[in-house]
Amino acid sequence: MRRQRLLLAAVPLSVLALVATACGGSSGGGGGAPKAGKAEFNGALNALVNPSTAKGGTLQMATVGDCDYWDPARTYYAFCWNMQRFISRGLMAYKAVPGPDGASVVPDLAEEAGKPTDGNKTWTYKIKKGLKLENGEAITSKLIKYGVERIFAGDVINGGPTYFVTFLCPGKTDKTGACPTYAGPYKDKAADKLGLSTIETPDDNTIIFKLNQPFGDFNYLAAMPGTTPVPIAYDQNTKTGGAKYTFKPVASGPYKVGPYSPGKKITLVRNTNWDAASDPFRKALPDSVVLTINSNAQDVDNRIVAGTVDLDPGGTGVQVATQQKVLRDLNLKNRADNPFTGFTRYFAINVNVPPFNNVECRKAVEYAVNKVDIQTARGGPIGGGAVATTMLNPNIQGYTSFDLYPNGADHRGDLAKAREALTNCGKPNGFSTKLTTTNAGKGPPVAEALQNALKRVGIKVTIEAGDPASYYSQFIGAPATNKSKGFGIMVAGWGADFPTGYGFFSQIVDGRAIKAQGNSNYAELNSQKVNGLIDQANAATSATDAAKLWGDVDKAVMEEAAEVPYLYDKALLLHSSRLKNIYVTAAFGMYDYQALGVL
C-alpha cells in the first residue's frame, strides 16, 4: 500500500466520461462558478456549500500528525499535497471544482497544458511571465527544472514520489530504481547546478521534458508538488536548503510558511508576492491558516463539533465515537460528508506460493470471501466503504463496473462455486495457507473475517501479523521472504498517486515492477496480457483510448484472480459550522483546503 492516502471522491458512473475527456489537461481555468449546494449530509460532494468571497480571519485546522514534509519534493501524504496548494504552485494543478471534474488537471504556472510530441516522449510547457517567489526571485523555467532535479538526490531529498527519476533519468534507471547517470543538484558538477540533460530550458519561460519512455499522463506528474519552483542559491545553502528546505520552503502560492514548530504547529501567512490574477483558481480567503498537531484524535473531533477547530485536514474521517454522534444528530450530520477516499482494499494472492500457483485455487478464494463481514470489520458502509468487485475504484479513469466472481447476491460468498473451483484445483477438501496482516487497527478483524469465510470451504488460514510501520515495506515487501515463509494471501490496500490507470496500477500489477525489496506487486502477478495492455495504455495518445485500455487492464487483472478487491474506502468528514466555500475535491477525496473561508 502506498502509505499515504490520496485521491478522489465519489464519481457517479454517468459522469466518468467528463473525467476522461479532461485527461491530459484542460487549457481552461480552474474555477468558474460551481453549483451551490445545500448544507446537508453529502452536500459538498458535488456542489459548493456555504459559498463566500469574504477575505479575512484565521482558518483553524488540527490533526494528529504533522506533514511528512513541507518540502514539495519530499511530501507524499495525500493531505499534505492538498495543503501544498496553499503555498506551492506547479506547472499544472488539479481543477478547483466540486464533483468529478476536480480530478482533471489545469495549467497553474504553465500557460497551457503540456504538449506531447515524439509519441508522448517529449513534453513542452510555456510558463507564465512576471511571477515571483516569496523572496522576490522571478519564477523561471530554470527554477522548475531545479525543483525536479532535487528529486534525483535520494540521499537528501527522499520520501516523495520518484516518477520523475523513472521517466527523466538519462538512459535508464538501474534495477533498484536509482538513476546511475544523475545524482541530483547537490552533486551536480555544472556551475549552475542544472546539469540534468533530459530537461531543457531554452529560455526562462519554456521547459521541455525529454522522457526515456512514452508516457501519456505526464500532465498529471506535472500537477504533483515536485514541479514547484525552488530558488537555487537558497537551496544550495546548507543552512536553508537541502534537508532543511522542509522547514521553510520558499512559497510560490498565496501563503508562505510563518512560524513553524515541527510536529506541533505551523502557521501560514499571506505571501505578498503572489499574483492573484495569474492564478487559475486559488481564492486565498483567510488571512492565515493555522495547523495544530494534536495526538488526541478524539479531542480533535470534539473541537470540530464545538466549533473551535474548523476541520481535520488529515482526511481519514472522524473517530468511531464521533461517527455515531454525527449520524444521530441532524445538525452535525448536515456538516458532514462521506466521500470515497480513492483507496481500494484488497487481498493479494501470491501466485508463486502453492497451491495458489493454480488459478482455480485463487478463484476459490474469490468466490468464498464474505465481503459484508469484512466491510463491517472496517467500520461499515459509512466508516469503512462500499463493497468492491474491481481493482480500479469508481474514481479512476477507465473504471467500469463488473464482477467476474459473483459471490452471492449479498456478497457473503458463493460456497458452491468456491467448492467447484477447489475441485478444479485438485483440492476438493481445501488446503492450508498463511494470511498476513498488520497487527493493529483494522488489519486483524479483516484477516479474521477472511479466515472465517474461507473455513467454510475447507481452506484453513493461519494469520501472521506484522508491525504496521514496516508491514508494506518489509513484512510483505520482499518476494523471496514471502515465498520462504509461505505467505499465500496478504491484506493490502492501494490509493493512486494520480487518478489515472497508470497512477493506480503501475506498481501493483505490472510484472516488471516486481522488486526484491520494497515490492508493491504483492501478488507477484507477471502476466504477459496485463503487461502488454499496460504498455498499450501508456502509449495511447487519446485520453479516451487510454481510459478504455486501463479498464481492459482491470479486467485482465481480475481474470488472473490474483487480487480480491473487497472495499472502496470511504471516510466521514466533518467541518465546523462557520466554515465557508466547502466542497470535496475529486483529486484528494477531501475538502479542497485552498478554497475554504471562515467569514
Binding site: 488540527a62 527522499n158 530504481g177 522547514f247 514548530s261 510536529g263 494534536n294 479531542d299 510501520a469 522488486k515
Partner: protein
C-alpha cells in the same frame, strides 16, 4: 556534606551512562540482530538499496555499535557532525542525536518541548502541594469531621480516576460545552502570559487533582501519626502556641515522606507528563516521546529517555539533600 554531594553527583553521571548504554543497545543493536536496517524506515517509500545506504551513512548506522555509541556520548559533550548529501550538519553539544523524522537535532526538539512540560509540571506541582498538604493538615486536625470525610472521599476519587478521564470530563464541560476555556492549547509564556496561564488552568487542575488526592491522604496519615507522638504532648505542655506545635513540630516531621514523593513526582513529570499532554494535546516532552515511539524515531526515544532519567536522578539527589533541611536529625557524611 560537600564530599557527599560530590559522591552523589558522580553516581548520577555513572547511572546516566548506564541508562544511556542500555537504551542505546536496545534501540540500535536490536535492528542489526533482526536483520532490518533502521535506515529503511527513513529512506522514503519503497527506497532503493542505494538510498538506504545513503541514509545509513548519514546517520552513522553503517559503523560498528561501539563506534556509534562512542560518537553518541562524544556528541553529548562536544557535539558532532552528520554528513548528508547536501552538506554537513553540525549538531551542537549537548547533541542527543539527530531526529530521523524531523531532520533536526533531538536537543532542538527537547528545547521546544521543555517549556510546555515544565509549565505543566511546575504549575500543577505548586497547586497540588498547596491543596494536597493543606487539605491533609486540616483533615488530620479535624479528624472524623464532615470536612475530613468529604475531603478524603474526594481524595479517594482523585487517586482512583485516571487523568484521561478527569481531563476529558473537564474538557467536555469547560471547553466543548460551556466554552469557558475555548480551544485549549499551549500558548508560550513570553508571547502572552495571560493566555499561557488561562490555557494551562484545566491541565493544571486535572493533574493536580490526581496528585493532590495522594498528598492529602499522605499528609493526613503522617500528621495523625506525628500529632500522637510524645514530643508533641511535651511541646503543648511547655505552653507553645498550637500553631507553632503544628507547624514547627508536627508538620515538619510529617513532611519527610512528602518531600521524598514530591521530588520523585516532579522529576518524573519533568521527563514528560504523557497522559496529560496527550489528553490536552500539549506538545511537551511526553508527547514527543509517544510520537517518537509511533514514528520509530529512535534518537528521539533515546534522548527523551536520557532526559527523563536525568530529572529523576536529579530529583532524588535534591530530595536527599532536603532531608537535612526538613529533618534536623539527618546529617550527611
Amino acid at each position: 556534606m560537600i564530599r557527599y554531594v560530590i559522591r552523589r553527583v558522580l553516581l548520577l553521571f555513572v547511572l546516566l551512562i548506564v541508562v544511556s548504554f542500555l537504551t542505546f543497545s536496545i534501540f540500535f543493536a536490536v535492528p542489526k540482530f533482526t536483520g532490518q536496517s533502521t535506515a529503511v524506515l527513513f529512506a522514503g517509500k519503497s527506497p532503493t538499496p542505494a538510498a538506504v545506504a545513503d541514509v545509513e551513512k548519514k546517520l552513522g548506522l553503517d559503523k560498528p555499535f561501539f563506534v556509534q555509541y562512542g560518537s553518541f556520548m562524544k556528541g553529548i559533550v562536544v557535539g558532532r557532525d552528520f554528513v548528508s548529501g547536501s552538506g554537513t550538519e553540525h549538531c551542537p553539544a549537548p547533541c542527543f542525536g539527530y531526529s530521523f523524522v524531523n531532520d533536526r537535532p533531538v536537543w532542538t526538539e527537547l528545547k521546544e518541548a521543555m517549556p510546555v512540560t515544565f509549565s505543566l509540571a511546575i504549575g500543577a506541582a505548586i497547586l497540588w502541594l498547596i491543596t494536597g498538604v493543606g487539605v491533609g493538615i486540616i483533615s488530620a486536625l479535624k479528624k472524623r469531621s464532615w470536612f475530613d470525610r468529604l475531603s478524603m472521599g474526594i481524595a479517594l476519587a482523585g487517586v482512583s480516576l485516571p487523568i484521561y478521564f478527569t481531563g476529558l470530563v473537564m474538557l467536555k464541560l469547560f471547553s466543548y460545552q460551556w466554552h469557558i476555556f475555548n480551544n485549549v492549547h499551549y500558548a508560550p509564556f513570553l508571547d502572552n502570559p495571560i493566555s499561557w496561564a488561562s490555557n494551562l488552568i484545566l491541565p493544571w487542575v486535572a493533574l493536580a487533582f490526581l496528585y493532590a488526592a495522594l498528598y492529602a491522604r499522605l499528609t493526613r496519615s503522617g500528621m495523625l501519626e506525628t500529632m500522637g507522638e510524645d514530643y508533641i504532648r511535651t511541646a503543648r505542655a511547655k505552653g507553645l502556641k498550637e500553631s507553632r506545635v503544628i507547624g514547627r513540630h508536627g508538620l515538619r516531621a510529617a513532611l519527610t515522606p512528602i518531600v521524598t514523593i514530591f521530588g520523585l513526582d516532579v522529576g518524573g513529570l519533568l521527563g514528560g507528563a504523557i497522559l496529560t499532554e496527550y489528553t490536552f494535546g500539549f506538545p511537551g516532552i511526553g508527547k514527543m516521546s509517544v510520537d517518537g515511539v509511533f514514528r520509530r524515531d529512535l534518537p528521539v526515544i533515546l534522548g527523551v529517555t536520557l532526559f527523563a532519567a536525568f530529572f529523576i536522578l536529579l530529583a532524588n539527589l535534591i530530595v536527599d539533600l532536603l532531608y537535612a533541611v526538613v529533618d534536623p536529625r539527618v546529617r550527611y557524611t
